[in-house]
Symmetry: C3
């Protein structure tokens, strides 16, 4: 039989032994798992950034993968750990909303409060909960009052929709909170696409980044389902001087 | 049976293929091991930083884990490689003191000089010893004259103890060379805690970072056993403009 | 039997979930592989940097290792994926020259165009080809017109050879495009070595970095076969204010 797969998403960074210690604790509990780093560069304490990262990734893993998420501004307090079953995937996380994107996408959703003390790694270190609590794959009582936030949604304003940049990737591509459903019908075909960031305009809705000319800003519907702004072989974030939270205008008239 | 676990602690960084090549060489020697990255961001050539990182981490791993440490200012010279058995854990490292914290904590300690030439990977590259020598888990002659340094210890000065910052983590938390034993009895209970860094004072000894108010500097006894200075959701290193080597004063009057 | 080993070389960086998603897709196709990160810090879109990194690393892996390389300025376009067999190693990459160094070194070389649609992961995402195409280890038609570039070679100029810096590593060591064969006979023995970068001269050809005195620039024949410039415990790139593409002069008179 194959080893169980456990993915890790944290804000620990890679400049330290924190991730290594988390892996040690997991392997001590069960040496026959395969641990995969999903993302350790979540913005520190940033539940939204963690939610977007996990939400964009979990579907690519085999059934029965366990996704451990450790992003928690409230570490050390009595934040309850939860075990979530969503479709074919499992999640262990603090109940702080970091699984909100998963909740939005899941068809079969069960959320349990992990309460069985003996399933937690011992001893629980107050300063390093990720290591001690979240890797338990045991079961607790089902709950329905779990924490959940909704992503900011574009708002109508005159002939436009106002949205925001949600995140920026290594290549300077900007993920917005617009999805394909916000585009007026026929946009792709009739060349009417118009998006603005600051005083710069994006006029091309492409199918791939590579369809952009040199230095040309293009928008595409990214693999995450959200519209992304990019420059072929360039850096849209730098060109637009934009980062998370920056306003994005989509013309829909 | 489970695969053997080998951890890697190096100053190679992650901006290159060096770590990948080290893994390749290990897997070539034995494809059935599970390799775990402990820390590849040890300050280049910094034996103290490496010693603190390994010393804070190794206990979290399953019995019989082999910790390979490659931090060596003397790479390419005739630094002898050693194989260390400490409690349930094994270590392979250069004999330059990088295991000093392990030596301090270990109850059963055996240090061997790895001499059996045929256990080294061939050919030995003079510029990249990590790849070629240290992954051998073979045995050599026991030695007692291995290199060992002691961490800087706090010094009494009037009514205070003078210590230093030992390291800074990704969140800007500062690990000092004070441990719980340096605290006057009853400090936690009677609120008499006073620590100073530069002209800034830390007045709260908390059990968790989260007990600090916004922007409040707090001290806690970290999971490493050392007192750490932190700001809940903030960055103590930046606030105090402090890094390794900066003086820390603990009032004990 | 041991798990198959798959290495990953990409320009995805580690500040995101891109690498994690690639691993998820591979494990979904085959959960019983061992995935090794070779290098995710290839300069974005930089085929030469990727070629040097893969070329310097692949030989250290066990036979039948599969090296997946995802560095592609043309992502999203109709770049054909190739499966390469070179000696005991396999490679899956876009046909853009990123395996050129492998081609130079390989004795038995077979390049196939991966065409069998059903071997690609489905669905193919236009924005993220790395995830979807390259991990297939299936076979396609052999081709001979694959893309291949040659590394810049030193040029004779008077009594000297003019070369360039090819890459810089984490320690500030500079890899040049000179190899041992460019050295006049007897250079190592007779102390006649002279190399220049800008107005600074390197006069020592050492066997190891450690043979250099404090702050002394030394050259060595690195484990990659190329001459590297380094400073023992120092940073040659910073000292010489040099990076890739900077001219290096080797006296051969």
């Amino acid at each position: 039989v194959s080893e169980n797969i456990i993915t890790l998403t944290t804000d620990y960074g890679l400049n330290d032994h924190l991730v290594g210690v988390l892996k040690g604790a997991i392997l001590k509990a069960n040496p026959d798992v395969k641990i995969v780093d999903l993302n350790h560069s979540v913005i520190p304490y940033d539940v939204l950034d963690g939610a977007l990262s996990v939400g964009a990734s979990y579907k690519y893993f085999p059934p029965r993968t366990i996704h451990v998420v450790v992003v928690d501004p409230g570490v050390g307090t009595e934040r309850r750990p939860i075990l979530v079953s969503a479709g074919t995937q499992y999640f262990i996380a603090p109940d702080n909303g970091v699984l909100s994107v998963v909740y939005d996408q899941a068809e079969d959703l069960t959320v349990r409060h992990i309460t069985a003390e003996h399933y937690f790694l011992q001893p629980v270190s107050k300063t390093f909960h990720g290591r001690d609590i979240f890797e338990s794959a045991s079961f607790g009582e089902e709950i329905t009052d779990f924490t959940r936030f909704t992503l900011p949604k574009p708002k109508a304003e005159g002939t436009a929709l106002k949205g925001v940049v949600l995140r920026e990737d290594r290549f300077g591509n900007l993920m917005t909170n617009f999805s394909a459903e916000h585009l007026p019908e026929g946009t792709a075909a009739n060349g009417s696409f118009r998006m603005k960031v600051g005083d710069k305009e994006i006029k091309k809705l492409a199918e791939t980044f590579a369809q952009g000319a040199a230095n040309e800003l293009v928008a595409i519907v990214g693999s995450s389902g959200y519209i992304e702004i990019a420059i072929n072989k360039g850096n849209a974030a730098r060109t637009l001087n934009a980062r998370r939270g920056v306003e994005v205008i989509l013309e829909v008239a």
